[in-house]
């Protein structure tokens, strides 16, 4: 009687991957040994079991995201100098406020024909922020190269050691708690450098209310442009970022490392414009809500966990805001 076969050897045997001699021995052993026949029969089912795993096709949003990333990459390649040249200017001028989505290079040329209509942020239409600190949040819309750019400005009650490379402009400093502003995050869209200032709205986003909560932050598109109602002038010294640099050296904002958040925003944006970055909570856990504007599509809302970085999305959920919302 030949020796029993082990599963791996039987698996090799099944795919014709043993010597003729061994195959002969195995065949004769299988003829005599019910245990090994059972093992062999079980093994025969493994490929079918593996093949039975069905997964849905690639999500449309992912296709769009990767297409955006590739288009962005193509734009970078087409104008490598511009992106590089824009780099030193990427820090917004102090007087420009902590601009979100501020193009730092001139001559906006859109390779993709986008119908840019970023949400306009109404002063009175910020349910979430209003809950926390409506007065602290002034909102403006920049028009750059025919592109409307949403801009959040504001002050916060933050204590910060981070360099104020984006001083809030003209934000009233009265009674602020809640909304904080982080250091500008840089990203590129169509080969241009932009920066977006993350906020902390202190919102606890929830699955059922996500769209409403985000719409509250970004505002209905049809609403009036939020004016710079805030007085212009030197920013109050208290108005600074709420990012902190612990003694360890890694700059954090909320529960996020700024470096990771920066990489994360670039990753999620994938060449599209970033409308909002809110470092808040999702179902009670630390999360960031990133709203991007992709070409002629509804605003996309990505909720990511603190693991989000340049190399990993850590997506908690994703949705689109209905057009017009």
């Amino acid at each position: 009687v030949t020796r029993h076969a082990d599963a791996e050897e039987l698996a090799r045997f099944r795919q014709g991957d043993v010597s003729r001699w061994r195959a002969w021995r195995l065949r004769s052993h299988l003829g005599q040994c019910a245990d090994c026949r059972k093992l062999d029969a079980d093994l025969a089912e493994i490929p079918a079991l593996l093949a039975s795993v069905h997964v849905p096709p690639i999500p449309e949003q992912l296709t769009a995201r990767i297409q955006g990333a590739l288009a962005h990459e193509a734009a970078l390649r087409a104008a490598p100098g511009q992106a590089a040249a824009a780099e030193p200017a990427a820090v917004p001028e102090p007087s420009a406020g902590p601009a979100t989505t501020t193009p730092d290079s001139r001559g906006a040329r859109r390779r993709r024909q986008r119908n840019w209509r970023l949400p306009e942020l109404p002063t009175a239409g910020w349910p979430v922020a209003a809950r926390a600190a409506a007065a602290a949040a002034a909102v403006a819309v920049l028009v750059v190269g025919g592109v409307e750019i949403a801009q959040h400005t504001g002050s916060s009650s933050s204590r910060s050691a981070s360099p104020p490379h984006a001083q809030p402009r003209g934000a009233p400093a009265h009674g602020t708690s809640g909304v904080g502003y982080g250091p500008a995050l840089r990203y590129t869209s169509d080969g241009q450098q932009y920066s977006v200032t993350p906020i902390t709205s202190d919102t606890d986003f929830t699955p059922g209310q996500l769209s409403g909560q985000v719409s509250g932050l970004t505002g209905p598109r049809s609403s009036a442009v939020a004016p710079a109602t805030a007085p212009t002038g030197p920013a109050p010294s208290s108005a600074a970022h709420s990012a902190e640099v612990p003694s360890g050296g890694t700059q954090t904002f909320g529960n996020f490392s700024v470096a990771n958040l920066d990489g994360c925003v670039n990753r999620i944006a994938a060449g599209n414009l970033v409308v909002l970055v809110d470092v808040a909570r999702y179902q009670g856990s630390p999360a960031a809500v990133i709203v991007i504007e992709a070409a002629a599509r509804p605003l996309e809302v990505w909720v990511v966990g603190t693991g989000c970085s340049a190399s990993r999305s850590d997506t908690l959920t994703h949705t689109q805001l209905a057009s017009g919302s």
Partner: protein
Amino acid sequence: LGRAGSALPGPRTAADTQPSDAELLRRHVAGDPEAFGQLFLRHRDRLWAVAVRTLSDPEEAADALQDAMLSAFRRADSFRGDSAVTTWLHRIVVNACLDRMRRRAARPAADGADERTLDYLAAGHAAPDPSSDSDLSLDVMAALRLLPPDQQAALVLVDMLGYPVADAAGILGVSEGTVKSRCARGRARLLPRLGHLRHGTSQPKPGQARRAGNRSVTGDVLPAREGGEEPR
């Protein structure tokens, strides 16, 4: 041999009216901003199929696929035409997945990966009883995830997606013998972990892939074993 023609399935659209993969890649290298995007669109379904099965987590798979496509975009000029473009693209995707698996091995399981995967799998089942199908799929994926990454990758390509061993070898950059060996080891290791599932599913459901069927996830019938490139 896998050079002009493709070792792996070609475009879904009529090949004669569309530029070949090699032509698209050549245009991309020459500066055409659209060409690589077309290549991605053409093959996205099967690249996704590989990534999501290899990583068993749709979020990680999405990230890996994005990384892989950007990587392929950037190093397209290093493509020498020794293999089919599809083989090359698959290889980059598989390597991106393997990188992530190895990194994942060094840290605790990603939070919520199973829930995400289950939700995702459930979305793919239109069967009357989607939960049992997706549970089964989840169990299979969970068992697969316990194998060494190399064995996982081989089984994903050969058993799950029905690629010929030669194609899998080209994608993985190893010999056919190595692919077979990894598959055999992987199947043997899966046996005890899938024991509770085997008997309910021995017969493939209609339309489901049998490994011998050479069927891709998109439903295309893959060409029966072609030359493919020589394994390295």
